[in-house]
């Protein structure tokens, strides 16, 4: 039986009174990997921030439901504790806060209780090895002076520890060299299971060589204008985005 995790219905979102999303519809079930593609400025990142509850993004119409619960009434921290996760395209630095303190606080918040330090260390170590993260990483300040690749690895490390039901990965592939891309993709693949779902936001096919989504959606001008299976991503790679928009014009 399919279990629906996330339902987005006719979502309209404005930033500073400018409408960016103009009626997005999307349903994501447990066990599914969705890719959301589209050009820069099509509204992909707006969708990811809105899903997580960034106060700058005002929902003017529509619904976001998580297991049928209305997410729009909740601040970001409540959504996170419920099982939403956003891997940021540009994770912000928190100078003076060490990665280990931060991870421990996040895990405590998500699981609702302190994790015994030994257990936490072991879990951390295991995930860090998988993602090729050095130990000295833990004593550094969160994203402070990190390279692009280090930031993305930290985003995936957090995902591994927080075990979200619904993970939104915003351009996680950007700025990664080929080795880092492989490691990060392997990390995502190993975390995807029949109990959770992943929404990959990207404008390249590159990441999709390593992660195979069941569904691919194309976003244009604040709407999802085409959906298909993984073949659609290859088609986009070969033909670019123009043919879809032309198709749209022809239909109209």
């Amino acid at each position: 039986m399919t279990k629906t995790i996330l339902t987005i219905k006719d979502l309209h979102v404005s930033v500073e009174d400018k409408e960016i999303l103009k009626g997005v519809n999307l349903t994501i079930n447990a066990g599914e990997i969705h890719a959301l593609m589209g050009r820069n400025g099509s509204g992909k990142s707006t969708l990811s921030y809105t899903l997580m509850g960034h106060p700058r993004y005002k929902v003017t119409k529509g619904q976001i439901l998580f297991h049928g619960k209305d997410l729009l009434v909740m601040p970001a921290d409540e959504r996170a504790r419920l099982g939403m996760y956003l891997a940021f395209q540009y994770p912000v630095a928190i100078p003076g806060v060490s990665v280990s303190n931060f991870l421990r606080a996040a895990v405590k918040a998500k699981r609702g209780q302190d994790v015994p330090i030994k257990e936490f260390r072991a879990e951390l170590k295991d995930n860090m090895t998988k993602l090729g993260i050095a130990n000295e990483f833990l004593s550094r300040y969160v994203n402070d002076g990190f390279s692009g690749g280090e930031k993305k690895r930290l985003e995936i490390l957090q995902m591994a520890l927080l075990k979200p039901e619904m993970a939104v990965l915003d351009e996680t592939d950007s700025g990664l060299d080929i080795d880092a891309l492989k490691t990060v993709a392997e990390g995502i693949n190993s975390l995807a299971s029949s109990d959770n779902a992943v929404l990959l936001i990207t404008h390249y096919q590159r990441l999709l060589n390593y992660i195979t989504p069941q569904f691919v959606h194309v976003m244009h001008n604040g709407e999802v204008i085409k959906s298909g299976d993984s073949k659609l991503a290859h088609e986009l790679e070969a033909k670019g985005y123009d043919w879809i928009t032309q198709e749209l014009v022809a239909q109209a």
Binding site: M52, G53, H54, P55, R56, P75, A76, D77, R79, A80, R81, Y85, L86, F88, P91, V92, I94, P95, G96, V97, F102, A105, A106, A109, K110, Y141, V142, Q158, L162
Partner: protein
Amino acid sequence: MSCIPQTDLTKNRIEEISSSLAEPAWLSKERRLAWEKYIATDVPDPKADEWRTINLNSLDLSKLKTTKLNPNLGSFETALPDGGKLPKEMSAALKQYKEIAGFIWQTEKGTQHVYLDPDLQKKGVILLPLSLAVNSHAGLAEKYLTKTRKFSHDNKFSLLTEALFNSGIFVYIPKSVEIEKPFLLGFDFVGNTCEEAVFSRLLLIAERNSKANIVNVLLSSNAKNINASPSLSLVSQLNELYVEAGAKLSYAELQDFGQHVFYNSRLNNYVHKDAHVDNLSVAIGAAQSKVDVATYLQEQGANSEVLGVVFGTANECFSYNTIQEHNAPDTQSDINFRVALKDQSKSMYQGIIRVDKKAQKTEAFQSNKNLLLSNGAKADSIPKLEILADDVKCSHGATVGPVDPEQLFYLMSRGLSQKEAEEFVVLGFFNKVLAQFPVPHTLEWLQGIIGETLCTQFQSQAELKAEAAVLVK
């Protein structure tokens, strides 16, 4: 302790103090000279940058009574006190540092406990209440205490402190003695309901090529039991650090006085050839705090690092003035000062860099960052450069602003509540400075103290909001 009536801050008090402590004649003379300067100095101009955040009306000099020191109080102990019997800041320090070179615990009534590692005593290290040291080590005390007046300043309270000090500590590190474990000094302003004045001096001498670490804790352990009076008690300090050629001295100060205290402090660092001084000033208490930190780089190769962390709450007012005075070539000074303010608290930071004509190849840097955690909080930052040499590297930078909403969103997107997220950002903001102080365990100790203060502060704010919400319903 008794409170004596009206206008206690007089020249006559000098003779009373001097005779009650059986002080040598040269010291009485120094006190009188300071008194003359005090009389000749204008009262603070409430509109001047360094005073305008301070509520001078909260202090009524005519009502202040000086506390009477009992020189016979206190005992020389062969061990440290039981941490459990000390205020939490002190017991936390004892726990964190584990090994302590020397310990002095004073209140305005007098010295309570003195301990010095016997091995260090054998090496000639001295740790004494200042009132005893001026007699027992008169030569040293005279040599250094009479130097003060050559460094002119016009802080009226500091001049008053020179004239009327009735409390203090003397620390002497002999030539080439290097001590890693810190000295822990503590002053508890026990206070009572009458407006009191405590004047104290700290004299630290690090002789050539010596090394020492000093941690000074200032607090009022029973502040909660004191009813806020419209006019405050005064704690005024004059602290002097003599860092002789090649010596390395680190000095950290935690100020956590209660809301009944007007705190005035002047810290003078005199740094000599190739010597290095580190200062860390942490302020989380007192209703009014006026603090001057002056670094005099007196000889070639002298260098200094001055750090500051201020966390203001309620209606607290802070005015911090740093002075980096380069009087010799090839000298370096670096200042990193961070302030976070909640509620209606206010802060003024004024940073002065002075470079003498002969101080070529000076490097002087200054950074001041202010975080505003509420709409009612206010921070100001004024750099002042007086550079007479032409071959120098100087820079200054200041920022004032709220917590970055993107940082809060990032932390909240990981499940942390807004309160936890704010705490994290503020602690991180302070950590960047605290981590620069080189004495091991200081970071952990202060993180604990500041973390606890932050936690209760943010808690109380969250509780207030919850209460307000209930009232609205």
